[in-house]
């Protein structure tokens, strides 16, 4: 742990020296949250401050068409009740990639990166200051592989519709390249602020019990099944961020096929609609649901629905606060083994960037 802090401090202290010599950028992102949860069943109220993810972002031109981009994060992690250790800081490398811009707007990228499964994961990454809502869509907690290590062919802003593609092969969810995963993502940007995209992800998992977690808050239950599985995702994204109206819709359907229980189809949809008043003030509504099938041996059977209202106040482009009230429940008429208790969640999130 001492080494990690030393690394961060060295990077920050050396940044001015490096900046003076080349096109090298160092930026920081983070958030501080205050959360209150009210459970209807037991009339219990839980509240407290929470230190959000703090990340350091570096990018730089390496010359001769090569560039580097890295993101390093520190998370405050609280261990489950009953554990001997109650809290700790966890450091991780979120992104470390080298890009080779071989022609025009076409590039080859190698390293650890975010999977281009949807708009959110391709644009916002871990920077809460960009998030339209205080938390990520539910699909991030269950379905989506957030990061991957591999090689990607990327094209962007091609033609009048600003067509873009990302074709990537990398390590599987088991963490090795024996059965590499594959993802193809396409999008267009027909007007300023609008992006429409779709993606397909395929991974053959030989041992489901050995899969890596998808991110820190993953609810993945690998103990469900230890056999092989074909895991596929199809996602659609629609984003329109204009001076006043903001809309983001993220739809994902997941297919988990096993020899024992056959094909299981699960799906989720996140919808955000916000309205900017004089740029700084943005009231918004959010609705997010997720349902995974009873025979889904990868994600387990879940039935989640949350909806709410919020308000974002932007002090500056790099400092905002979001106040959000959400109601968590389950979709009516759909059963599952893991029904979530109904509860309210109120969040105040102060998100910032430093550069």
């Amino acid at each position: 742990m001492k080494f990690n802090y030393l690394f961060f401090f060295t990077l920050i202290l050396s940044s001015n020296f490096i900046l003076a010599q080349s096109n090298f950028n160092v930026k920081g992102f983070g958030s501080i949250d205050y959360e209150a949860e009210y459970h209807e069943d037991d009339e219990e109220l839980e509240l407290g401050f929470k230190l959000g993810e703090q990340s350091l972002f570096v990018s730089g031109d390496m010359g001769n068409k090569f560039s580097f981009l890295g993101e390093f994060a520190i998370n405050y992690s609280v261990s489950p009740h009953g554990s001997t250790s109650t809290s700790s800081f966890v450091t991780s490398v979120r992104r470390a990639r080298i890009k080779y811009n071989y022609a025009g707007n076409h590039s080859l990228i190698i390293g650890q990166m975010h999977t281009p499964t949807n708009y959110w994961n391709d644009v916002y990454y871990h920077a809460r200051v960009f998030y339209p809502t205080a938390d990520r869509p539910l699909a991030f907690t269950y379905f989506l592989p957030i990061h991957s290590l591999g090689i990607r062919a990327q094209g962007q802003n091609l033609g009048k519709l600003n067509f873009g593609y990302d074709i990537q092969s990398g390590n599987s969810l088991e963490g090795d390249g024996t059965n590499p995963s594959f993802i193809a993502a396409l999008h267009i940007k027909p007007t300023d602020g609008m992006r429409i995209g779709a993606s397909y992800y395929y991974d053959h998992i030989t041992d489901n019990s050995a899969v890596h977690h998808m991110h820190q808050e993953s609810h993945l239950n690998s103990s469900l099944y230890n056999g092989s599985m074909d895991y596929q995702l199809i996602s659609f994204s629609f984003a329109r961020f204009e001076k006043q109206l903001e809309i983001l819709d993220e739809f994902t359907t997941a297919f988990a096929r096993t020899d024992s229980l056959g094909m299981a189809q699960s799906y989720s949809n996140y919808l955000y609609v916000g309205y900017n008043i004089k740029e700084k003030y943005t009231p918004y509504v959010v609705c997010d649901f997720l349902h995974s099938a009873e025979n889904d041996l990868r994600n387990g059977a879940f039935n989640r629905l949350k909806y709410g209202v919020g308000y974002k106040h932007q002090f500056t482009p790099i400092l905002n606060v979001k106040c959000q009230l959400e109601y968590y429940t389950s979709i009516q008429n759909l059963t599952s083994n893991n029904m979530v208790p109904n509860h309210y969640e109120f969040t105040i999130q102060l998100a910032y960037a430093i550069f």
Partner: protein, 152 residues
């Protein structure tokens, strides 16, 4: 399955309606704005082409040089004017736009200068640079001139 089908229908319908309502933006820049380039592709550009380049939509010129955008960027009226003319946004929104683009790894960071003189200095030093001047009355070498035609 019912939810799946209904979600797809809603998604496609909403996307179509919003696409139909899409507004394309294109206009001439006023005489207050002047744009110059150092070792960029020699051709006449339309204002929409220049606008796309200044929004970070082009990574490399055909001559192989990387695209480097230089903006005169402070908190004054001239910067506000440039932000509105080029990006159709406020100064704050332009700053956030670039921050997001660089953070997503899809574009290199532009260089922000505090005066037209500094813009010119950076332009001279960087091949592949394209620079925006606002209300500049000084002399700029003719080889940096960029020909801009009407919108296409």
């Amino acid at each position: 399955m019912l939810y799946f089908k209904s979600s797809i229908t809603v998604f496609v319908t909403v996307a179509f309606l919003l696409l139909m309502n899409g507004n394309c933006y294109g206009q001439n820049y006023s005489s207050r704005i002047s744009i110059y380039g150092n070792s960029i592709d020699e051709k006449p550009y339309s204002t929409s082409e220049i606008g796309a380049i200044l929004k970070g939509q082009k990574s490399r010129w055909k001559n192989g040089n990387s695209v480097l955008i230089i903006l005169r960027f402070t908190q004054d009226e001239q910067t506000q004017y440039m932000a509105q003319q080029i990006y159709n946004k406020s100064v704050q929104a332009v700053r956030k736009y670039w921050l997001g683009l660089v953070f997503s790894g899809r574009s290199s960071a532009p260089l922000f200068a505090e005066s037209n003189e500094e813009v010119l200095d950076l332009l001279k030093k960087n091949k592949g640079a394209i620079a925006v001047f606002v209300d500049y009355k000084g002399k700029i070498p003719t080889e940096f001139k960029v020909e801009i035609t009407n919108p296409d």
